[in-house]
Amino acid sequence: MNQENLSKINSYLSFKLGDEEFAAHVGKVLNILEMTKITEVPKAPVYMKGVINLRGTVLPVIDTRIKFGMTPTVYTTNTCIIVLDIDVDGESIYVGALVDAVQAVLEIDKNHILPPPSIGSKYKSEFIEGVANIDDKFIMILNMDAVFSTDEITNLRDKTEETEQTTDIEEIGS
């Protein structure tokens, strides 16, 4: 999808991590897979869950909860893998995002997207494009490129909000 068309579309896929709801622009979403056996790659960062077979290619899968400083994903029947098309240094890369549940595709008009709060936010602002208020819920619209980038900086949480949990997210073996 080229940039022009992309900006016209207002559809977002919403998903849940625990109680919090997030959304990703559909332009970034390739498809949604049901939970399947993930082959763990040893000695990798904790948030890297492993790899799966996506039609003959190897797709890395990231535990989005861990990325967001939450406890690791516990598999339920709702757990899904969202296959994302991420831009890394101008290159298109596929990555799978493990989420607790996928909700719906929402039409969110640009006018209804509020800019992310600069302070007091749980998560670092460079990862959040904006916030939308749908049915009295606050849905955080994510910058998927930034969230799932290959940079080793994993801590999405704002440093001011650091808790003991972040030690889990620290990299192992560089």
Binding site: K37, T39, E40, V41, P42, K43, A44, M48, G50, V51, I52, N53, G56, T57, V58, L59, P60, I62, V88, E91, I93, Y94, V95, T150, E152, G173, S174
Partner: protein
């Protein structure tokens, strides 16, 4: 033979005299059947025997006479005056024919022809006269045209039960087949009834035989000539070469014979087809081998766009994956006939893979021109005299690897020219030849290509490096480093030790970049240097990027692939034994082998299995064991990258999709062992002899 001839002539003369008497008597009594029989018998005997002793003309002549008198004795012809006249004339003629000197006498020859035509006329009256082919002269031993080559035939031979009654022994016929060529005999006893109903005078056995012989089909049929009316015989050519040199063909036949009653012509033909394709493949292999060993840069070549090559490679990779699934399916579902087809597909796709990859392999020759230019131009610019020697220009590499190699190699060469080779006067002072020497050597080592760049220049000063490293804060001042470790420092970022950062090599391109670029193409680089004498940089590269022959193993739920090339041996081992070892060393085949317990290293639970497998791999010059749960088998893995998210993960070279769709991880054993040994306190020792 002369004695026999004489004997025959004597005999014949007697016979002819007796004949004359009979004929004269017959004239008086033309209806006397016994006289007619006598005449007939004489003609018959003369005809039968004359050919034996070389009297062909008598043979053919008496043949005609015999026909006449056969007709007479059967009442089809009457012994007329005319016939008797001719017959008596024939007797005179025959007497003459008994003397070989007369054979060249034109009168005799003329007479012969005349009489023959007269006799023929006599016979013509009866349309039912036998038209017997004068097979006399060609009753030769070998009617068959000499077959230059061998052919293979299938023979089915089932004699009737009563075959023994007329003195036949079928085994003699099989012996005769053995005389003709190479034979595989399959005797079938399934028609032998139980003892209480078995007739000991009956033959119940029947045979199927495969014979490879240069004898003709006729010759083979002739073996059975006495029994053909009393047997079922089938002879069928199945190949125009000797199939019995193909061991697999013979084994397959034996397998079939043991599992079924008859092998059957169609099964044999199927096996023949398989043997044929093996033969063709062997021809192709040897043909290809010949082609590839020739060193000429092929004049007969075509240009292929890189895009097409990429598409081809992708398709080949996918084929390999799909074929793996086919093999798995065939094994699991056990559909008869599918497994051999799947095996065939595997062989074919392997060949296709190898051939496809060879297309993508290009000799590094082309790249070398660039380097020669560089050396020439640079040495001129720097005012240094350098000779550049290349070896192994014909060594071939995947084109993508070559492209990625160009820059790093250029950089290394620049370094050599710039910092390595000294000015001529400096060299002379050092006692070195005025001309500096840089060599680039390329060669194969196992599944790798090695590229070695050496110079006889100044070499690397370990002291200077260490100082620089301390200055940069990379190492602490009191750290003791081995020479190797010092040299490795060169690969650290920002580490240019040139006193002046020259325009050429200091331009933000350091050895760290070289190392990284080479890692990107899954290669390794090492430096060797002798301060004052020179430096050698060795680059190790994989031959192909995409497909690896590996060993598929399982550790708990995960499948791993260990490249076959590093695998030395596999042993089964007791779980208890592993737990009990001291210092993580196990004794295998009398040698002490250090091992790593993969489960432990990857933080998995302890195995509940009683037995595990130790895979002994080659690591540098030593052997190290890696313990896994199960070894599943050989697997041809289409290597797929893990992706940028795993870019710091170098233990796993990549992943592959197994036949059942799950992902297996391809391990780099060198990296794993290096990593594991960091955690363990001990270093890997040389293998020691067990203490007694």
């Amino acid at each position: 033979m002369d004695n026999f001839k004489k004997k025959f002539i004597e005999e014949a003369t007697d016979l002819l005299e007796g004949l004359e008497k009979s004929l004269l008597a017959l004239e008086e009594n033309p209806e006397d059947l016994s006289l007619i029989q006598q005449v007939f018998r004489v003609m018959h005997t003369l005809k039968g025997n004359s050919g034996m002793f070389g009297f062909e003309m008598i043979d053919s002549f008496t043949h005609e006479m015999e026909t006449v008198y056969d007709l007479i004795r059967n009442g089809k012809l009457k012994a007329t005056r005319e016939i008797l006249d001719v017959t008596l004339a024939a007797v005179d003629h025959l007497k003459l024919l008994l003397n070989e000197d007369n054979y060249n006498d034109p009168e005799v020859i003329g007479n012969h022809k005349e009489l023959l035509s007269k006799v023929a006329l006599l016979v013509k009256g009866d349309s039912a006269s036998e038209q017997n082919a004068h097979a006399d002269l060609n009753v030769e031993v070998n009617k068959s045209v000499e077959e230059k080559g061998e052919k293979t035939y299938y023979i089915f031979f089932e004699p009737i039960n009563e075959i023994f009654d007329n003195g036949t022994n079928p085994l003699y016929l099989l012996d005769e087949l053995h005389d003709l060529g190479k034979v595989e005999v399959f005797a079938h006893l399934n028609k032998v009834p139980s003892l209480n109903v078995l007739n000991p005078e009956f033959c119940y056995t029947y045979w199927e035989v495969i014979i490879a012989t240069s004898a003709s089909l006729n010759d083979i049929s002739d073996v059975f000539i006495f029994v053909e009316d009393d047997s079922t015989i089938e002879i069928q050519e199945i190949a125009d070469y000797n199939l019995l040199t193909d061991e697999i063909f013979i084994d397959d036949l034996k397998k079939l014979a043991s599992t079924q009653n008859d092998i059957g012509l169609s099964s044999v033909q199927n096996l023949t087809k398989e043997a044929n394709s093996r033969k063709v493949k062997d021809k192709i292999k040897s043909f290809n081998k010949d082609r590839s060993t020739s060193k000429e840069t092929s004049i007969s070549s075509i240009r292929v766009s890189a895009d097409k090559l990429d598409i081809l490679m992708n398709l080949v990779s996918e084929l390999v994956t799909t074929q793996a699934r086919l093999s798995l399916f065939a094994e699991e579902n056990n559909i008869p006939g599918l497994l051999p087809i799947a095996e065939n597909v595997q062989k074919l796709s392997r060949q296709l893979r190898d051939t496809a990859f060879s297309i993508v392999l290009i000799p590094i020759e082309n790249m070398l021109t660039r380097f020669q230019r560089l050396v020439r131009d640079l040495s001129n610019e720097l005012g240094k005299e350098v000779v550049f020697v290349t070896e192994g220009a014909e060594t071939e590499l995947d084109k993508t690897i070559i492209e990625s190699l160009a820059d790093p190699l250029m950089h290394i060469l620049r370094n050599s020219l710039d910092h390595g080779i000294e000015d001529s006067d400096v060299r002379v002072k050092k006692g070195k030849p005025k001309q500096g020497r840089i060599s680039l050597k390329a060669y194969y080592s196992g599944a790798n290509v090695m590229i070695q760049i050496s110079d006889d220049g100044a070499g690397i000063d370990p002291v200077m490096i260490t100082e620089k490293a301390i200055a940069k804060g990379i190492i602490s001042p009191d750290r003791k480093l081995t020479k190797r470790e010092v040299l490795e420092l060169v690969f650290l970022p920002g580490f240019s030790t040139a006193r002046q950062v020259t325009d050429l090599s200091g331009r933000g391109v350091g050895m760290d970049v070289v190392k990284r670029k080479i890692s990107d193409i899954r290669g390794e680089v090492e430096i060797e240097s002798e301060f004052g004498h020179g430096t050698t940089i060795t680059i190790k590269l994989p031959l192909t990027l995409s497909i690896i022959d590996g060993l598929l193993v399982k550790v708990e739920d995960t499948h791993f692939i260990i490249p076959l090339l590093v695998v030395d041996k596999i042993y089964a081992i007791d779980h208890e034994k592993i737990k009990k070892t001291f210092n993580n060393v196990v004794v295998l085949d009398g040698k002490q082998i250090p091992f790593f317990y993969i489960r432990e290293e990857f933080d998995l639970n302890e195995s509940q299995e009683k037995f595990e497998q130790v895979i002994v791999v080659n690591f540098e010059e030593k052997r190290v064991g890696l313990i896994v749960d199960h070894v599943i088998g050989e697997y041809q893995a289409v290597l797929k990258p893990l992706g940028k998210h795993y870019k710091n993960q170098d233990m796993i070279s990549g992943a592959t999709i197994l036949g059942d769709g799950t992902v297996a991880l391809v391990v780099d054993t060198n990296k794993i062992i290096k990593l594991f040994s960091k955690h363990e306190v001990f270093k890997i020792k040389e293998e020691e002899k067990p203490e007694k």
